[in-house]
Structure formats: C-alpha cells, structure tokens
C-alpha cells in the first residue's frame, strides 16, 4: 500500500504532524487578569513558538511531492454546507481537529479560496497530501456503497425491522430521518466485501476518509430528505474494522490507523470540557471576536482589531464553545492475556455524545484511531523524552456484554473459530469413539472413574434449551447438575479444579468459606459515588458456565437454600436494600460432598452419609459416589499410572491425551452451534425407559421414578447427541443416558439394607422399606398402648421397655421417638417431658 509514499510512509508522516501540534500543548488560558499582570508569560502561552512554525511549515513545502495536494478542511467546510439548510456542521474531535488546524495554518495567507477552486477544477486528479485518497472518487464509491450494499445473509442483532433484501444503509438513513440521531454506523466488513480498496483506504487514512464519508452520506441524505432538520450533520461511524486485534498486538505500524480492539473498561474520568472556540471581548471598546482552537491552543488576540489597544482582550468563558471529552482506560480482557503476564491497558478519548457511554467493568469493542504523541520534557530545554504517549480516539463503541442479556448464544459470537479448526473438530466428531476419547481427555491425571468423567463431560455440553413460556411452564433447564460424594482424598477437588480451569465461565467456591451473599448477589455502596451497586456472586457470574462447589456438605443451611431456586428455575431473586430483581443464573452445578463420618459408611444410605436435604439432592441429575475400589487389577493400573506421573516429561504426557485446548474448543463449538432435538425413535425410547423405571418400583408398591428423572434423561440424551455434533437425538443417545443414569443411581440410591436401587432415597430422603418399618413400629406401639387399657398417662421409659420386650427386632430410642411422633401427629397422644398422655 501507499507505494507512491515509499520515501516517507504516510502513517509516520502524519504522526509527526500531530506531534507538531499536540507536542507543544499548553495550559488553557486562565483568567484575563493574570495575563495583564504578566504579559510576557501570556505571550508565551498564547502563541505558538515562532521557531516551531518555521521548522514545520517550510518542510511541508520543501517536499517536492509529485502529487498535488488538496485540503480536507476545505472540503468539509465547503461542500456539504451548500446543499443543506439549517443543519450545522459539527466538528469531529474524534478525528482530531489537529489536522484541520494544520491546513488552516497552511493557507492562512489567503490561499484557501484558490485551493478550493483548483480542487474543483482539477477534479479527479487530486489526492490528499500524504495519502492515495482521491476525494471525489472516494466519495462516489462510498455513495455507491450506501445505495447498493445488500447482504441478505449477514444478520446483526441491530437489524431489527430491516429488510435485508433492500440496501441496508439506505434504510439506516431513513431511520436517521425518523429518529433524528445523526450517526450512521457502518460495518467495515460490509465495506470490505463491497470495495476492498475503499476499505483499505479507510483503515489506513481514517482521518481523511471518514470526513469524505460524512460528506457523501450527508449529500445522499439531504438529497433524499431535503426538509429534514438534524441536530448536526450526519457523522459516519465505522466499526468492526477487520483489524480487530488484541491490545497486545498493537504496534507502531498501527499509529493513525483505524483499529478495533476489545477489552474491559477499568476507569473513566470525569467529563472534561475542551474549548473548541474561545470568545474574547475587548475591555476597552467591548468589541468581540471568536478564536478557534488551533493545535490544541487558543491564540489570544494581543491587539484589539477595533480600538487597537494592546492586551485588552479578555476571555469570556460562558460564551466560549466547549466540547465534551472523557478519558477512559481500557484493559485487555482476561481471555486474551497470556499466562503469567499482567494485562495491558490503553487510554481512550471519547468525545461529545460518546462520553459516558461506557462504565467501568463493561466489556467493549472499541473502534477508533490509534494515536501517539511525544512527551515533552521541558519547554525551555530542547531535549525531548523519547517516548510517545499513545491513546485511541474513539469513533465507535460496541458493548459485548450487553447482548448477553438478550440472547443465549453469545458464545458463538465471542468465540469465532477458524475454518480449519471447525473442520478439525468436525473430523474429530465423526470418530466412533469420540465420547470415550473426550471422557479420557478430561482430567487425565485423575485415574479411572470413567462414568463420572462421562457424566461431567455431558454436563460440560449441556442439554438443549427449551422454552415453554407460552404454555406456562417457563424455561426448562438445560443444565445438568452433578454431585460427587465419597471418601476424602479421592481427588474430588482435583476434578472440580480441572473443570473450573476448563470452562470459560466457571467459578470455584468452597462450601466452607462461602455465604449466601457470596454465592448470589449483594448490594454494596460504592465508596466514591455513594451509589448502591449490585455486586454479583459466584452463581450469577457462572451464568452459562459451571459453578463448582467444593465441600458442599459444609455449607450452612441458609446458603444452601439459595440453591433450590437456582438449580431448578435457573434464576436468582434478590430483594435487598430496595433493589428487587431476578437475575439469570443458568449455571450447571458441580458439587462435591464428604461423608459426615470422615469415611463413607457403606451400611448407610447416601442421604444418611452426607446429611443433605433430599429436596436439594433430587435436583441433581446425577449423583456419583467416588469410592476407593478394592480390586487388585485396579490397584495395579493405578500404580502404573501414578508411577508414570513421577518421571514422564511433560511433552510425553501431552502426546498421549487430547490437548486441553482442543477439548475446550470442541465443547465451545458444540455448545454454540449444535442444538439437538428429540427424534421420533428417541422419544419412544425415552418413554419406554421412563415406564420401565416406574415399573420396577410399582412391583414393590413404591414409586421409583418421577418426572424429574425423565427430564434428566432427556437432558443427558441431548448432551450426548451434542458430543456427536448431531442435530438429532437418537436411540444411542438415550441408551447412554439411561446407562449413565442407572449407573449413578446404582451408586447413590441403593438401599444398603435391601440392596435394591430405590429412587425414593433421593426423593424423600428415606428408602421405602425404612418407611414401611417406621409405620409398622408406630402401629405396634399403638397396639401396645391400646392393650394397656385407658390409662391417662404412661411413663416414657416404661413404654420403651415394654415395646422392646414385645418387638422381635432391636428398637432404638430414635426409632421409638419417631413412632411416638407419628402417633402424636395422628392426635393419638401427646408427649410432655417424660410422660406420654393419651388423648
């Protein structure tokens, strides 16, 4: 590019131009009395140092450029105004008034009109100095783009109400006419597909090209809507420059080019009023004059033109013109950061209506012009610090996280895959054993526990989201929740850590250390603004991700109760400090719990072992036991696996398993692009499976499956289909879902007394046989009391002894008390202290 400028690269040249002017920035004029007191100082402040002018201007002319050069400033002021009535031009500080000022300076000796004339007469041959941009052709091309660009396939979320088969930007102009917001956002990608060369020019010379675009857009607009009156003329705002890059990749070549970078706002300054035009009045004769800003400074007229008094002009602040400006610090987003380094930051300057558009904490894509300005050491010392200050003049903001509130698939937006990558992933998905392969790649350092890994794998993929709002059932949750329980030291925490590290939006908390507040959200008073701010906790932060909760059993009651809502409704309700809201918390929960008595007691049920309320347990799709298997072959394999850990080099380990990055991409792709639906066969298989499950129990007079289990099965089957990148859930998916579900049940819901899998352990907290036994005991007790005749009261201990004597099984005190309570519930008796009264 810019072959004709081989002698001096344009970007470089223009940068130095800018530095000429901004380099010797001076404080803004203060109040007039100070000037009067020290006229010498005022002189130094208000006029650019003469030697500077000498060095700068001759140089511009010295260059015997083969190109004729036109002046953008004359265009901006000249052309659009002619065709427009009532709509003023507004300066674009985002493009830098600097350049314009240089031009004014150039022709201050009355050449300006001639140049305009020559420009018009010379027509096509003119290019802007230092660039290859021809104003007229550039304008024409852009107008053609506006009038003709159609891309029915490219749908953006702002395109609501647009007819995609009509020229997109003409509809936008129509919108401007109706709404009255004079900004035209142009997607650079569209421009690129329309005219590659124009796009290149825009990227390389935004400062010159964008005003040309403005001009073109205004001409079309006022041609079409001649009566329209806008606040000011339309300003074109390009965005999505394909040069979208990571902050880390910015380098000196990008200076003065149009760039788009993404990042997170970390700080924004107060509004800074920047003087655009100063208003002076003579204190002697009240003659007034306006002075425009020139290279960042105001040249105060030292002599009144009217009465010729020296130093009589005083600045009138409230009649001067100011524009808004704001400094914003952008930090690179955590995802872009290489490991072990600290994030970079870059300064942004926002102007006029872009001020206060973003808040600290927002994730934004910023399009703007990258600038570098040298730092001056001292005006009186000729040495200059050899460092430039860099910033970006913002032209367009695009918040990346505001969309998250509206759509679910923002991950597809965020994570774009290259075609090769997609091809590779698809290739991978065709492998017959992909499911096993992925499961194996998951936490390879943790040995075996294959079913658990498979379960977690399915959790990572998740089911399909279904919306039943119109039938009144709301959203069905697509997230799969998993609970791991088992002996301490069976690498549960390690598994959790692995998952937390794998998923992009994961949170890791420990039940011991977290409070309800830490999990949900809390209201905090900002110390600076005294404003109430809603701070989100782990569950909200892991929306669309996985929330890993270690030591689930150590969590206190009130904290756990929060999870009830999250785990089924996937929302969080907050009513605190006057803030009432419902936040999305579509998080999958992966929890780990230790048994109450340090070791898992195989003689007790899951509930008894971990002492968690069954209401919560039933919300887990899969509950796995991680126990230490007692098996020689297993021991042998485990030993080999562990020994290899202790001497294999890292490279060798990498070879053996699938890369974590591949796994991550695979999951992200499946989550983003694959949305399986139930097929006919699969539905049938699911129904059968459910009926089967119910049947098992009905034989023994108990319910062994609830609709919740059916939903779990569906989710698991969908997730399995996602693993295969299949858009349709098929029988094999259901088979695997069934197998996994059964496997988990076998582990967690087996009644240790009878050895039968009993879902009611998880749903009611008690196995059916245990419940039956309880009822029997209560009946026996009732009979015993009745047999004693109508004694009004009985001794507690006496009754227990009698019951024990009568019963053929051992009766513990707890069982006895439970029976008493059951009878009390039936209003048969009351227990007061140590006596039992009949009613």
């Amino acid at each position: 590019l810019a072959a004709q400028d081989a002698r001096s690269p344009p970007s470089q040249k223009r940068r130095t131009d800018d530095s000429t002017s901004t380099g010797d920035l001076q404080p803004m004029p203060t109040s007039p009395p100070a000037d009067v007191q020290s006229p010498g100082a005022a002189d130094a402040l208000f006029s650019s140092p003469p030697q500077f002018r000498h060095s700068a201007i001759p140089l511009d002319f010295d260059i015997s450029s083969p190109l004729t050069y036109g002046t953008p400033s004359s265009r901006v002021e000249g052309t659009p105004r002619s065709g427009v009535r009532g709509t003023p031009v507004r300066q674009r500080p985002d493009l830098g008034s600097v350049r314009k000022a240089r031009q004014v300076d150039l022709h201050s000796d009355g050449l300006a009109e001639d140049i305009v004339a020559t420009e018009q007469s010379l027509g096509q041959k003119l290019v802007i100095w230092g660039t290859d941009v021809n104003v007229a052709s550039c304008k024409e091309k852009f107008q053609r783009f506006l009038q003709r660009f159609i891309d029915p396939l490219d749908k953006e979320d702002e395109d609501i109400g647009l007819d995609l088969n009509e020229p997109r930007y003409m509809q936008r102009l129509q919108e401007i006419n109706m709404v009255g917001e004079p900004f035209l956002n142009v997607n650079c990608d569209h421009l690129r597909s329309f005219d590659e060369n124009l796009y290149r020019q825009l990227i390389c010379y935004p400062q010159e090209v964008i005003p040309t675009f403005d001009m073109a857009a205004n001409e079309i607009f006022f041609d079409r809507y001649p009566d329209s009156i806008l606040e000011h003329q339309i300003q074109v705002r390009p965005y999505n420059a394909l040069k979208t890059r990571n902050m880390r990749n910015l380098n000196p070549e990008d200076i003065d080019q149009l760039i788009t970078i993404s990042g997170m706002v970390i700080r924004s300054s107060q509004l800074i009023p920047e003087m655009q035009e100063a208003f002076f009045r003579c204190q002697v004769c009240a003659f007034t004059t306006r002075v425009e800003i020139d290279r960042g400074r105001i040249a105060e007229p030292s002599v009144c033109k009217n009465c010729n008094t020296t130093h009589s002009m005083a600045l009138i602040h409230n009649r001067s013109m100011f524009s808004d400006k704001q400094m914003i610090k952008l930090q690179e987003s955590p995802e872009d950061m290489p490991a072990g380094q600290t994030p970079h930051t870059v300064a942004l300057f926002a102007h006029n209506d872009l001020v206060d558009k973003v808040q600290p904490g927002d994730r934004v894509n910023v399009t703007g012009i990258y600038r570098a300005v040298p730092i001056r050491v001292n005006p009186r010392v000729s040495s200059v610090q050899s460092v430039y200050k860099t910033h970006i003049d913002v032209i367009h903001y695009r918040k990346t996280d505001s969309k998250r509130l509206h759509s679910v698939d923002e991950e597809t937006e965020q994570k774009r895959f290259t075609e090769e990558r997609v091809e590779m992933l698809k290739e991978l998905s065709k492998k017959a054993d992909i499911y096993e392969r992925l499961a194996l790649a998951l936490a390879p350092s943790i040995y075996e526990h294959e079913d658990i890994k498979k379960g977690i794998l399915l959790q990572l993929f998740g089911g399909s989201r279904k919306d039943f709002t119109h039938t009144g059932r709301g959203n069905f949750r697509a997230e799969i929740n998993i609970l791991l329980c088992g002996d301490p030291g069976t690498s549960k925490s390690q598994l959790l850590q692995y998952v937390y590290n794998l998923v992009p939006r994961g949170q890791y908390t420990s039940g011991k250390g977290s409070s309800a507040v830490g999990l949900t959200a809390y209201v905090m008073k900002d110390p600076e603004t005294r404003q109430l701010v809603l701070q989100t906790g782990a569950l909200v932060l892991s929306d669309n991700g996985i929330c890993c909760i270690d030591e689930f059993d150590k969590m206190n009651e009130s904290t756990r109760s929060v999870l009830h809502e999250v785990m089924e409704q996937q929302t969080l309700s907050i009513a605190k400090a006057g803030i009432i809201c419902q936040l999305n918390a579509r998080a999958s929960i992966l929890a780990a719990a230790n048994p109450i008595e340090s070791q898992w007691n195989p003689k007790k049920t899951t509930i008894e072992n971990i002492q968690l309320p069954h209401t919560l347990l039933s919300r887990f799709d899969l509950i796995f036991l991680m126990l230490d298997p007692r098996d020689e072959a297993y021991d042998r394999r485990l030993a080999r696996h562990l020994v290899s850990l202790y001497y294999q080099s890292e490279e060798k380990m990498e070879e053996e398993y699938m890369d974590m990055a591949v796994l991550r991409d695979y999951i992200a792709y499946a989550r983003g692009y694959v949305n399986p639906r139930l097929g006919e066969e699969a539905s049938q298989a699911l129904i059968e499976a459910y009926v089967d499950m119910r049947k098992i129990g009905s034989g023994r007079g108990m319910v062994s499956a609830y609709p919740r289990q059916l939903e779990s099965l569906i989710r698991l089957a969908e997730a399995h289909a996602k693993v295969r990148f299949s858009e349709k859930v098929e029988t094999i998916d259901v088979e695997e879902a069934k197998r996994l579900h059964r496997e988990a049940l076998k582990q967690s819901a087996t009644d240790p007394r009878t050895g039968i899998v009993d879902i009611s352990i998880l749903t009611t907290g008690m196995s059916a046989t245990a419940r039956k036994r309880k009822e029997e005991l209560a009946q026996a007790l009732r009979k015993l009391i009745q047999s004693k005749g109508r004694a009004p009261s009985l001794k507690y201990q006496q009754l227990l002894d009698d019951l024990r004597a009568q019963s053929d099984t051992a009766v513990t005190k707890e069982m006895f008390e439970e029976a008493l309570r059951a009878l009390a519930d039936e209003d048969f008796l009351t227990v007061t202290g140590k006596t039992v009264r009949l009613l």
Partner: protein, 652 residues
Amino acid sequence: MPCVGDWLNSPLSIVQGIFAQNVPHSDWEKKVTEYFKEKLKENNATNWVPSLNDVPVHYLKPNSLVKFRCMVQDMFDPEFYMGVYETVDPNTNARVLHFGKYRDVAECGPQQEIDLNSSQTVTLERQTFYCVPVPGESAWVKEISFLTELVLNAVTYISASQARVSPSTSYTPSRHKRSYEEDEDMDLHPSKQKEQHMGNSCCSGSDIHGCVEPKRLETEASVGHHVISPNCSPPLDLNFPLPGEKGPACLVKVYESWESFKVNDVLEVFGVLSVDPVLSIVNSEERDSSTLDPMECMDTAEEQRVHSPPASLVPRIHVILAQKLQHINPLLPACLNEEESKTCEFVSNFMSELSPVRAELLGFLTHALLGDSLAAEYLILHLISTVYARRDVLPLGKFTVNLSGCPRNSAFTEHLYRLIQQLVPASYHLRMSIESMNHSRFIPHKDYTANRLVSGLLQLASNTSLVIDETQLEQGQLDTAGVHNVTALGNLITWQKVDYDFNYHRMEFPCNINVLITSEGRSLLPSDCQVHLQPQIIPPNMEEYMSSLLTAVLPSVLNKFRIYLSLLRLLDYSISDEVTKAVEEDFVEMRKNDPESVTADDLHKMLLVARFLSLSAGQTTLSRERWLRAKQLEALRKARLQQQKCVNGNEL
C-alpha cells in the same frame, strides 16, 4: 578503538559507533547485542559489571553498563519511542541522525533541535518491567556475589572514583557530577541536607527563574530518602512483596522478546543505567500542569507517581542482554543446562563428593532438629523438592512438610528458620497470628487508580522457601481478609498457584514455593506430609545451642550444603520399567494386606519421597533399594503419627 573500560563505562558510545557504521540498515541493533554478548562471554566478564544489587545507585556512573538480579514484579504497558531521530542545527541547517534506543531522553547538543517531522524518524516499541530484588534473598547470596565482584572490580571502582573527580566526557550535564559531591557533603553536614529539604518543600517548580536549581535539589533530596525518611512528600511505596525489604527497585526497559518473560520470573539483566534527573523533572512538572491541561490528565497523579518515579529512587535500566535465571545461588554456574565443559566439570566434581556432603548435612539438620534424624531426612527431601511439571491442574513435585510437635516457647522455630536461611538462597519466615492474618496483604491486587499490581506476601519467586510458623497462632476471630489469606495459603500449598485479584476478575499465577509449616499439633493448613518431631535433646538455652551449631560448621562446608541443595533441584529423574513393575507389585501387595491404610494418596507420597530420596543421593533413576528405603521412611513417619494420636487420645 573501544577498550575494556569503554564498553563498561560508556556503552552508549559503543552503540553510537556501531550505529554510525551501519546506519542505513536496521541491523545495527543486532550488531549491538552481538557485540555485548561477545564482550560478556570473555573471562569472568559478567563479574566485571557492577551490580545494582550491591552498589548504591549514587555510586554508579550514569549511562554505564550495570547488571541487576531481580524479579519481575509488574509489567507496564509497552511504550513507543523514537528509535531513530534527527536533530537539526537551526543556524547551519546541519542534520544529524541519532538513535533513541537505550535512552530515556532524546539527546541533542546545545545548538541543536530535534526535528519531530523528519522522515527519518523511526518509531519502535519497548516494554517496561517493574523489577524488585529477589524477595527474601538470603544475606549470604548478596555477600558472596558482592565479594566475587569486589575482587575483580577494583579497577572499575577506581575509575568510578576518578569519574567523580573529573567529569567523564560521555556524560554531559555537569550538574549531576556536582550532585555526587554534594551527596558526600551531605553525610558530613547534616545541616545542609536539612536546608535542602526545606528548599524542596518551598519551591514546587513553578518558579520560572530558578527552575533548574530547586529541581536539582529535589532529586537529591529523594536520594536522601534512602537514608532519612522525608519530611515533605510521602515516601514512594516501592512495592516490595515482603515487608522490610531493602534494595533498589528498578524500571527495566526491555527491547527484545519481552513476551517470553513472565511476572515473578527471576532475571539477570545487563543494561545501561539511566538516572537522568530530567526524568524526575518531567514528573513534577506534569503533575502541576495536569490540573490545567486536559491532554495531560490522561493519567492520574498516582499513576504518574508509580509509572515514572524519580530516577534517583527507581533507576531505569535499558536492557542490552537479559536472561532468566534458574536459580540465584552464586556458588553455582548461572546456567546449568548448557553443554559447557566447565559446567559439566563442576557438576561431576560435586557429584563425586556428594555422599559425604549429604551425610554431613543430615548430621547438621539432625542437630538442628534437636536430634531427630527422621525429621532431618524429610527436611532434606523438602528442601530439594521443586514443582517439575503440572499435569492439568495437579502440580507434581511439591512437597510441603508439616513439622508438628515443635516446642512452643523456646523460639525453636525462629532459630530453625535462621538455619534454613543460611542454606537456601531465598526464604521468608511467616509468623502466623490472628493479627498478621487479618492485617497483612497476602494476595497481590491490581490498583486501578495507580494502574499497578500492588504486591503481596505471596508474590514470590520460584523455589523460595516459605517457612510458616503456626506455633504463635492463638485462638481468635479471623475477619474477611484473614479468611482470604488463609484460603490463599491453602491454595498455594495444594495447587501451587496464587489467584491475583484484578478487581473485576481473578487471574491465576502458577508458582513454585517450598512451604514448610511448623506447628504444635497438626497444622490447619493442608500439607503433603506431616512429620511429628521427636526431640532427643532439649537444650537449656536454645539460642546458644543453635548459634553454636552454626559456628561449628566451616564456611566451606556450609557452601557445599548450599550447592548441594540448589544443584539437586535441577537434576532430571526417571523410573525404569523394571522398577515400575516392582512398585506396582508392592502397591498391590500392600493393598491386599490392609486396603484401609494404603490409598492412592499414600502411593503418591511414597513416590514423591522415593523421587527426592534418589535425587538426594545423586541418583537420577529409582532403584529398588531406594524404593524400599522410601517405604521404610514413610512407615516410620506414619508409626510416629499413630503413636502421637494414641498419646493425645490418652491425654484427653
């Protein structure tokens, strides 16, 4: 032609020479680094270079070549600078090209001006690291590295003192030279210093006429900050991770491959020292004008303070050569993996006399641990442990030892730490107490106002020994900060990572820190292995006993211990198939007999012990004997714990 003194004393003139010869091509930069690489390869040349670690900044010649052994504490944003610029003489219109690399200020002669519009200007990029001396660096490391330099550097110091008498030609601003003299005067006349402080506080640089004078005074006053706490502006927080650290912090400007460096890396940099007082003037002035000039208030006052502190306090080094250090032990060759005959010789020599050294060290530590040889064995294993790989989230090779049963009142842990400090190159003693847990800053966090990473206790370089003393901990209430700190310690021990707090998000920084916990009972922090101390002797005076221990060891032997511990950490290790089989068999057998007591975790531990046991004997493969020995050690350790449990049970 440049002689030895030249490249040391005025490296910039060498660069200028190379630049002038090659100017139309851009490969002059490469030639410069090659030149210095060659120079530093020569006999002991690296030792000739004065080190910022040992010599106070104001004794070093500005713009001379210096070296600095440091840890990257924070990384600032990359900056663009004028790589090549042109000056013009307004009278004669003569144009001269200059290079801006290795410089903070674009220099130009008194009659010249910088032409900012020149087409010759080349903008380049460099990265700034905020570096601090290695946290917790032991005194002996400093001493030894200083002594080796001192012997060789006599010449340099003489020339440096000459420089003080007659100003060197390469250094133009003559007032800096004067500042040296005044600096010396200062020590002699404290009253004069006071005067200067007053002068500093009364003129803030707004005075037009005397603008040079007061500013000079200001920079000098800040030199004085080292000695006496200032009575004017608050002292600059140099952001050392550990409290009570001394030494210069430094802004290290890196010109090449800065992507390869990470936070907490230990580097040795060779570069041009820049303490130009102009740099400090920039700041004071900008701070004044920032309230007026909207362009300049890009950064807050705090940010400016942090990012461009006075050069006298935080000097700049423009890096010509930088290398990551595997270790900071000056007794070892800096780079061990190189296939140099010298290194190999050193290693093999040391390996041949390894076993007596180990025996002696074991004896020494046994005495230090009050006659408990088992604990001493474990302590050796702990001291040579290092995270050698990470398997997804699992760090391999960490070996946190919890030394329980430490006598509480006899300041035993204090003295034990002092002994460890004598052995390892970097260490820190963390005395746990409710107070310290609640009030100290463990996790580094990002301060967005000043735009820097505020350091915390846990920002430590690799292989630092962290000795946590739990014996001082009393019952009490931990507040939020305390809970976070304890959690951070737990994470550090279990995962060998620290989650730095970036306010809007957290970032994980992997680390490699040897943690030793001393406690009375079992520690509340997790650990890989708990060893219960069984003192054989209770010395009546702990202090006397411990210090006599240290004096009894010959310095040469002590140095051998130091080499031993640092060297073994760097060795490779493998297990043959045969032994793997045997271990498998063993494990299965053990499980068969008593499945309750032997778990996968125990196998992990045994393998770790076996690894370090083999390494501690200088063997890089596991042998059957070592495996049995490891098993035996573990059994002994476990038996002790069991025994302790019983004792405690009886007491209750």
